[in-house]
């Protein structure tokens, strides 16, 4: 079950308590989990640590998740990172925006922790 070398996942959400839930779930899968509570920090961590996958909230202070995604996709070192948007936004236009900016998946809150886990491992397997 232990993955070697450890796969790194970045989770960015402005809600610290939710962040802890996701972190807990993913750590139990054996991933190395990094966290950020705003868009700027998320981008910073992504650049410094180059995680394999990133779970991004859309509405975050300072820099929206879309904004982060855009920066990620235009950064040559980060282009291969998988990005899953995890967000409460209800408008269907958002899903389009997310995918057109290069998101790999889109999950809306409230979400099923099990589904999140399955999708993450599926995207990581695709690499």
């Amino acid at each position: 079950m232990e993955l070697t070398p450890k796969t790194t996942v970045l989770v960015a959400d402005d809600e610290p308590h939710l962040l802890r839930l996701v972190k807990f779930r993913l750590e139990r899968e054996g991933y190395d989990v990094l966290t950020a509570t705003d868009g700027d920090a998320a981008l910073q961590v992504a650049r410094d640590r180059r995680p394999d996958l990133c779970v991004l909230d859309v509405m975050m202070p300072r820099r929206s998740g879309f904004d982060v995604l855009r920066e990620v996709r235009s950064d040559e070192h980060l282009q291969d990172m998988k990005v899953i948007m995890l967000t409460a936004r209800a408008q269907d236009g958002d899903v389009d925006t997310g995918f057109s900016l290069g998101a790999d998946d889109y999950i809306t809150k409230p979400f099923s922790p099990q589904e999140l886990r399955v999708r993450i491992s599926a995207h990581l397997a695709k690499r």
Partner: protein, 342 residues
Amino acid sequence: MIVAIQIVAAVQLVAIAGVAAVLIGRRLQAARSERRRDALLERFRDAVIEFTCTEDAEPPALLRALRTGEEREAVGTLLTEYAGWVKGDARRRLTAFMVEHRYVDASVAELRAHRDWRRGQAAKTLGDFGSDLAVEALLRALRDDPSPRVRAAAGRALGRIGDARAAGPVLAAWEAGRLPAGIAAQSLLDVGPPALPALVGACSTATTGVRAMACRAIGHVGFGDRDQVLDLLGQRAIADPAAEVRGAACTALGQIGGDESAFVLAGAMGDTHARVRQAAGDAVARLRIAELEPLTRRLMDDPVPEVARAAARAVVVLSGAETADGNPFAVEAAAELEWGWA
């Protein structure tokens, strides 16, 4: 007279000093109790998180052996918080725990509290719990509670629980003006397809706002009996006396309709109200009804800019950017298409 004023002033001085003292005292006390509460929440948070994300988990021992009312309350707060973020299995697990440990019962009892804010809070909490055992009690609150705030909270909670039994009573409260439009519509929307008959019913009530909001909501719920719903929306889109309703019906058709809506939308494009023509244009763009292209093209010259813009978007979507032929709105729509936003 002057003595009286001096007395007033003295009383005021005392009042100021009193208020200031109470302020500081309360602040100190609040800070202490908040620290206590935070510590309690922290103590149980990990256990709740673990319970939330472990499939087929038994509740952790820590959560089953709560001693004080304070501990119980803290765990209740955490369960509610996490139940609001997750769905599916995880949510069912949390809900079952809350039923078993009588959190739901306690809140149901609170629905009869004397203070309205306590009743409202209980209603909200029950919505967060999401247990259908609370439906009957919430329906009672929706029907009988004297406070509009509590009724609103009950309406919202019923939507969040998503039980089909809520649809009829929510509609009734809405029509009677006992539940604000936005809350009622949201509640029915949350209930989803089972609420469709109620929304269909709402489309023929006397109040303009109710009809319009119901049409909007139907567009978001989708359809059960497709033909019936499209039929109804079509009727509203053309024949409703209020422009607001006709517009909302067109928008809803744009969301769930198809080619069979062409006839209705063609009619709506000739409506006297700009908002209806605009909604019809938007709908044509969404549904990509090719046979309406010529009509829509004519609408590009509409004197109202919003209508012309909607029409131009539709034309560009249907026939491509190159057919824009100089109409400024078509040029704009073509650019939108080119930038990838159509």
